[in-house]
Symmetry: C2
Subunit: 590 residues, 2 copies
């Protein structure tokens, strides 16, 4: 059968999943892909399929003409082959996969020689090109079909390289190694897929599945960010929200404003040059990830005072609690026109640097004492006949205009909508990150904004690290306790959301604020918990519209966690290893 | 002045600290040693002392005759030189130490050429020999005097190699690197001590300062244990409580009982052979650390059933909550004489393997349902006319006799004293680990036992990781929230302790139970928090007898944490780096 015939046969089911035959269900125990594919069927485990030593992956040339191969997809194919060649993952069961090789050897009856990748609607785009399209366009492009039969070639069918890339990621996750000792036939190491044949039809429920990293409170090296992006791609996370600056340090070296990082970075080594940011954006894009840069304004900007004291109110004022949520105090003088222009100029440079259609201008935790006790601000308010909200609206209108002129949509934190008088500057295309509490989503939806679920009560990775302000006996963390993978997993994106508002829910985000995190504890803090967020917003609610069962997911969570560890990611264990081998025995009530 | 003259002059003050001149105080900002030395004086920071390129450390030969050099001390001296030669630690301040080099170069006025190590009462022992002496003997042997003048040689004086080793550790912690660019005189890199001259008289308040590691729920490689021991030695922790076996896995390969690990280890690679245990004990001893092996009995032993089902009651019985605190269920049939003999034989082998004067036999969380519903146990109770406590007393008497015959003192968890009828087998020399709650210490002291403060409400490193039993929405951890360094630091070892009971308080322990920890998150979970425990039990209460001030300690906690990171230990950051450079600005109320 020709690829094109297969495509013709499968594509209707693929792109219109309501047409799928009812026999295709989603067994969670046989498919260990995280996030769980929308639809899948597998074999019963009686016929492991082994990877041929000559296994190859072909990009179907028919799908490319008249275009050239998307070079990042070619790299991803190379990487898939390399990952499988060095695969160290053994099956998680008490017998470590021996159950699939009952004769005590590693002999296979069936071998997979080849995987064909076909793009049905290829227009010359790269993965990167498609990753940075609008959030509404992404799900269709991330969809894919993956067919792994017991005989013949395996096939991937997707519209373009982004979907093909997601399919390659799923494909990788199906394989394990098995070894047996001895010299005879069937001894040695094989790479096998235990539940072949597989047929997977997959498509994300949401187009915005994000990880936020704060690189201001503590610095993270470029290599550590690359590793985050690689691991994000393992679980199909597709937005890297880079909170690059804040009051503690300004590591971003802008060509037009080099003084910001020269004075504001922790050290000359703890910086991100424009070239580095571009490299990170490319590295992300090649892995299907859009980089959302955030320049948090007008609060969280004390570090600017080290080079531009004229733009910052209440810098280092004490007691810090009167002027800021945490030390050091300092906010942009947003009532001051020179400061607004200065901020717009910075944002303009950052937009030029970014490739995304979105940019976050922050807007959280604006402290009014800082402004109202600042002479420069008081003078500006008086001169304009403004109160503070008028000034903020003016600042927002002008700074956001800088984005909109370049076709970029602003993203803001929820306070911009909830903590101030209605601001005409915040038009309804603005995307609002819900962070204080998941209940706050309702009030933002009422105002007609699109939202991202990033609330602390479910998705803040730093909760439970305890209070970090030095205090005798230790203080509580503001959002205790720790948000476990199962807490995240219980989130309902559509709770209290009307049917006609569902399009306003763009997706979700898990956030790593770095007060008590740097490279040393980054990976155990982030992984595998972020994989739970990935599944909530890729796989969506279960067939009843409710959050999926943690008991059904824990086996897959272990599987992806050990895969991460095997790839050198220091992901935390979720349970004793005994439970990872027997997840059903470590469920409440077992 | 000859070393012997200095020793004659200083030793009285050193070994009788009440005789110290009142001018010797303990400034916390100038001495960054953790744990804080008992007494110290420093310079004012105006004259940094630099390490000569020819810097050498001499073991004073006069102190050795007629003995040979303690070989582990010679290695420690070599290591000290090597660590200083590769030192990467910069001073934690906004100017990174430039304040000590006001001319903008790295030029030093004063250089230290030599450190002399003198042992005043050397009897041929090694560090290892002294580390495994009784808990009461340790403080005198860990005491030391360290003198670093601005001119001439620096000197260490201690009774023997253990104290000399502690002094070398303190010595290392005083140095920083400073670099300046350029080619001229004073450019390049220097290693300097900013607050020379230093004079330190130090001695621990408690002889038992422990870290517990559970290697059964998840496995830890030998290298990861070596790294724990190295890092423990940086903060003078001196007991490694190795909870080597439990219900989840039995990684300990005993020559007489190889079947226990063959069947009970997670895999043939996840084991500790007797040779490995001996190597770890030696590695620890050379770093001043006693290894307390724990074979937890009669509970927490399900893994034995895989090779000896005849000795285990209720193996894998469900619902697990009825039979055990966590899955899998299974306990030694302690009413059965064959099982008691089997257990004694195991303990006998472990005592022979150990070098410590102490061994823990566990005794926590014994589940009575498991025993009372076990036919074999019921028969044994009936035959002997026993209730369960009678049987436990008999088991304890016989298994502990195995230890006592070899001169080893048993250590048990608090339930052995508090949760059963008074057991004659538990004589008052038994050491009791308080773990459920710090308040329980009072009841154990009332019975006259010596105790170690290891309570979950202050010292459990796994608290706050959230519940790990799979549960929809996630369950709470049993000992939430996380125990921060400042929580640990606020512990009062003598709370509700009468003056004439103080000798019963042996020290403290921080415990890492490994339900949700393995090598991937080990270091961020353990460090630097365990350093707070180290200081509580080395430095003891402040001059008012109360816990010391966290605000005064945070700068030193940052210093030791960054030193750990510079030595490759993935210790968690305690605050934003901004605060590490300005600890006084991140205190509650600042």
């Amino acid at each position: 059968m020709l690829i094109t015939d297969i495509a013709r046969y499968l594509l209707p089911a693929f792109f219109h999943s309501s047409l799928l035959p009812s026999s295709i269900s989603s067994p969670s125990s046989k498919i260990n892909i995280v996030p769980l594919p929308a639809h899948s069927t597998t074999g019963d485990g009686s016929t492991p399929l082994c990877l041929s030593h000559n296994f190859t992956i072909y990009l179907d040339e028919a799908s490319l003409r008249p275009h050239v191969s998307p070079k990042d997809l070619v790299l991803a194919i190379e990487d898939t082959r390399a990952q499988l060649a060095s695969l160290a993952m053994t099956y998680l069961s008490p017998s470590h996969g021996d159950e699939f090789f009952p004769r005590g050897d590693s002999k296979c009856e069936r071998y997979l020689e080849r995987l064909d990748v076909h793009m049905s609607d290829y227009d010359g785009s790269t993965i990167f090109d498609q990753a940075i399209l609008s959030v509404e366009e992404r799900p269709e492009l991330e969809a894919y079909h993956l067919d792994i039969p017991l005989t013949g070639h395996a096939k991937i069918i997707a519209k373009g390289p982004l979907g093909a890339y997601r399919a390659l990621t799923s494909f990788q996750t199906l394989w394990y190694t098995h070894s047996s000792e001895g010299e005879g036939e069937g001894s040695g190491r094989v790479v096998y897929a235990p539940f072949a044949p597989y047929e997977i039809d997959d498509k994300p429920a949401f187009g915005w599945r994000a990880v936020l990293l704060d690189t201001s409170r503590n610095y993270f090296s470029v290599d550590s960010i690359y590793k985050i992006l690689e691991t994000m791609s393992m679980v199909k996370l597709n937005v890297f929200h880079w909170h690059i600056t804040d009051s503690n340090s300004w590591p971003l070296v802008l060509t037009s404003f080099p003084e910001l990082a020269r004075e504001g970075a922790y050290s000359p080594k703890e910086i991100y040059t424009e070239q580095v940011v571009e490299d990170i954006i490319s590295y992300a894009g090649q892995r299907g990830i859009d980089v959302l840069l955030e320049i948090d304004t007008p609060g969280h900007t004390a570090a600017i005072a080290l080079s531009h004291p004229e733009h910052i109110a209440c810098f280092l004022s004490t007691p810090y609690k009167h002027f800021a949520h945490q030390p050091p105090a300092g906010q942009l003088r947003f009532a001051n026109q020179e400061t607004t222009e200065f901020t717009s100029a910075i944002l303009s440079d950052v937009v030029d640097l970014a490739k995304s259609r979105y940019l976050s201008t922050g807007g959280d935790e604006i402290n009014s004492n800082c402004m109202l006790e600042d002479k420069d601000t008081k003078d500006a308010l008086t001169m304009n006949g403004w109160d503070l909200d008028d000034a903020l609206d003016d600042f927002t209108k002008k700074t956001h205009a800088t984005l909109r002129e370049k076709g970029v949509t602003p993203v803001v934190w929820q306070e911009m909508v909830l903590d101030h008088r209605a601001m005409p500057s915040l038009t309804n295309d603005t995307i609002v990150d819900i962070w204080v509490n998941s209940k706050d989503a309702r009030m933002v939806l009422d105002q007609g904004y699109r939202i991202v679920h990033a609330s602390a009560d479910y998705f803040y990775l730093d909760c439970g690290q305890s209070g970090w302000i030095t205090e005798q006996g230790g203080g509580p963390g503001w959002c205790d306790p720790l948000k476990s993978w199962s807490k995240m997993y219980s989130f309902d994106p559509f709770k209290d959301v009307k049917d006609d508002e569902r399009h306003l829910i763009l997706g979700g985000q898990t956030s790593l604020w770095a007060e008590q995190t740097d490279e040393n504890n980054l990976e155990p803090t982030l992984w595998p918990r972020a994989a739970a967020l990935a599944e909530v917003f890729w796989s969506g609610p279960d067939s009843n519209g409710k959050p999926r069962s943690a008991a059904k997911a824990i086996g897959r969570m272990h599987d992806i966690r050990y895969r991460m560890v095997n790839r050198g990611v220091r992901a935390s264990p979720l349970q004793p290893h005994w439970c990872a081998l027997r997840p059903d025995d470590c469920v409440l009530g077992a």
